[in-house]
């Protein structure tokens, strides 16, 4: 074998080796990706199940159990932004117009250290105005929720 022949064979071997290494890497990547996807799928399944398990009992008959707030668009934002400093009971016992809720938020921002609500302000106010709007009471309501009992 002369020198030229030796170099040609060596080049061929290098090409074959390159191809083999490339294939091996490709195979490895494919296997890893498949495995990762499988893992990811399982993880997601678990998360979904976990989320359902945790969130399902949170709303009963249209009311968020822990806070007493009614179910509606914007509920999550209200819980996150409004119940950090004060109780949700301060919301559920009050009734205000859109302007009223807006000025209450403004008052809290000016005097009570409430943060800027940014894009979340509109959906928060919409939720409050839709679900906690004033109702006419008149000058004196009739006596209601009387618990009747036999007197001894």
């Amino acid at each position: 074998m002369d020198n030229k022949q030796y170099i040609r064979i060596l080049k061929q071997v290098v090409v074959i080796l390159k191809a083999a290494i490339f294939s091996l890497i490709l195979l490895l990547v494919l296997v890893m990706d498949m495995g990762y996807n499988l893992l990811k799928k399982e993880f997601n399944n678990d998360r979904t199940v976990a989320a359902e398990r945790v969130e399902a009992p949170e709303i009963v008959n249209g009311v968020h159990v822990r806070t007493g707030l009614v179910e509606g668009e914007g509920l999550d934002l209200v819980i996150q932004n409004c119940t950090t400093c004060h109780s949700s009971k301060l919301i559920t016992q009050n009734r205000m117009t859109k302007t009223g809720w807006q000025s209450t938020i403004q008052w809290m921002q000016e005097t009570q250290n409430l943060w800027d609500l940014g894009d979340q302000e509109a959906p928060i106010i919409n939720y409050l105005a839709a679900n906690y709007a004033p109702q006419k009471k008149g000058r004196r309501a009739r006596l209601e929720n009387i618990e009747w009992y036999e007197m001894e």
């Binding site: 678990d46 945790v54 109780s87 301060l90 009570q112 004196r140 006596l143």
Partner: protein, 407 residues
């Protein structure tokens, strides 16, 4: 998934808990699955503060709760039936041996600091004092006023013991130009900011100098319960209870109307001149509430009594009138058409509520409402309708009503 993971809290639940608390829970992933952190267990008001189960919680952060009429039947309100009104968070870890009261201010001749032992060395005075929240009855206003929706139970008359504020003011020395005494308490602002006071109100110097205005360290013969201001509070009977600062550690003798939290704007103020329901009122046209208006409660029987064949009923309750006396109490069983006079006792002392009683006879079977109406020593009567609307829903002294069935 390994089963061991399931025994611990899910990440989403942990995030929710952290969201509620407003801070991450350190080592939170080791919380057992069904364990609710103590900070979230907020349904324990009655146990936590030794309150009557019939107390109604309006708000759990901050704590606000009111009595119902029938549990206010005691002549002297026990701690278990006293309403709770907080603007901020109740102070923790109170060290009584380190507690001091400092009196200072532009109109103080000197600045003095007193320990609790120092305060107890002054002559002790005890008075029954009516404390009613300025917003008691807010839930009846239309259009509604924002805030805690008190119905009728934010009132009490306990026996308060302590030193006269006037004795302390004389000890410190008051300049001629003194206008107001402002208080500072140890409660914390809801935002957690140490720079903010949840509430810092007070009284004009004339009210501060009255003999019944106390710096109290006792309630009903015992230490003041924590939720009511332990170890020290101002008690200014007959005025909105917000004037009676809790967890008191500083008083300032001011040469102007005190400008602390909830003194300004529309807080504890009503329109200086009457306004139409729903009208906007500028802050400068709002005046500070001083003496509370005449009011009464029917504390026996509880609303909803069915008398069966009986045609008569003994009723009783209390009546109070801020700085004034109650001169007469009437009841009506015909929706205000006719009124019968009740027996009325004199107050135990000035600013204590007065006890009244009556014997009702029903002419025939049917549904009745008993209405009670007190009149103060200046002839002012409780209205049967909700009185003048005001933006913050204060001073509703409309007559109390209970429902009765005969037959």
């Amino acid at each position: 998934m390994s089963s061991s993971r399931r025994q611990f809290i899910k990440k989403s639940t942990l995030a929710a808990f952290s969201g509620i608390i407003g801070a991450p829970i350190v080592f939170g992933k080791w919380l057992p699955k069904d364990y609710i952190p103590l900070i979230l267990d907020q349904n324990d008001f009655h146990n936590k503060f030794s309150k009557d189960p019939a107390m109604v919680v309006l708000n759990d952060k901050p704590w606000n709760a009111e009595a119902q009429a029938h549990i206010l039947d005691d002549k002297v309100t026990p701690a278990s039936r006293m309403f709770v009104r907080n603007n901020g968070l109740i102070p923790q870890d109170i060290q009584t041996d380190q507690w001091t009261l400092t009196i200072d201010g532009e109109s103080a001749l000197t600045t003095k600091t007193y320990t609790l032992a120092d305060l107890k060395s002054f002559p002790k005075h005890t008075y029954q004092l009516t404390l009613e929240c300025g917003g008691n009855g807010r839930n009846e206003f239309d259009p509604p006023a924002k805030g805690n929706q008190w119905s009728i139970g934010a009132v009490s008359c306990a026996s308060w013991g302590g030193v006269r504020l006037s004795d302390l003011l004389k000890d410190v020395g008051v300049k001629e130009d003194a206008i107001y005494v402002g208080y500072y308490g140890k409660d914390m602002h809801l935002s957690g900011s140490p720079d903010k006071n949840p509430i810092s109100r007070g009284v004009p110097i004339s009210k501060a100098m009255m003999e019944e205005t106390l710096i109290a360290y006792e309630m009903n013969g015992e230490d003041i319960p924590l939720v009511h201001g332990f170890p020290l509070r101002l008690v200014a009977g007959g005025w909105p209870a917000s004037a009676s600062g809790k967890w008191l550690h500083r008083l300032s003798i001011r040469n102007k109307v005190h400008d602390g939290a909830k003194m300004e704007g529309s807080s504890y103020r009503v329109p200086c001149e009457p306004v139409a329901p729903g009208e906007k009122v500028l802050d400068e046209n709002m005046c500070i509430i001083e003496s509370m208006p005449v009011k009464s409660l029917i504390t026996y029987p509880k609303s909803g009594a069915m008398l069966g064949t009986k045609k008569s009923l003994a009723i009783r309750g209390h009546a109070w009138a801020g700085e004034l006396n109650v001169s007469v109490v009437h009841y009506s069983i015909d929706f205000g058409v006719t009124w019968q006079k009740c027996e009325l006792q004199a107050a135990a002392n000035r600013l204590a509520w007065q006890h009244w009683s009556g014997n009702v006879s029903f002419p025939k079977d049917g549904y009745y409402e008993i209405w009670a109406r007190a009149t103060d020593s200046e002839g002012n009567m409780q209205p049967m309708l909700v009185p003048g609307w005001n933006p913050k829903g204060y001073l509703n002294n409309a007559c109390h009503r209970i429902a009765i069935k005969v037959g």
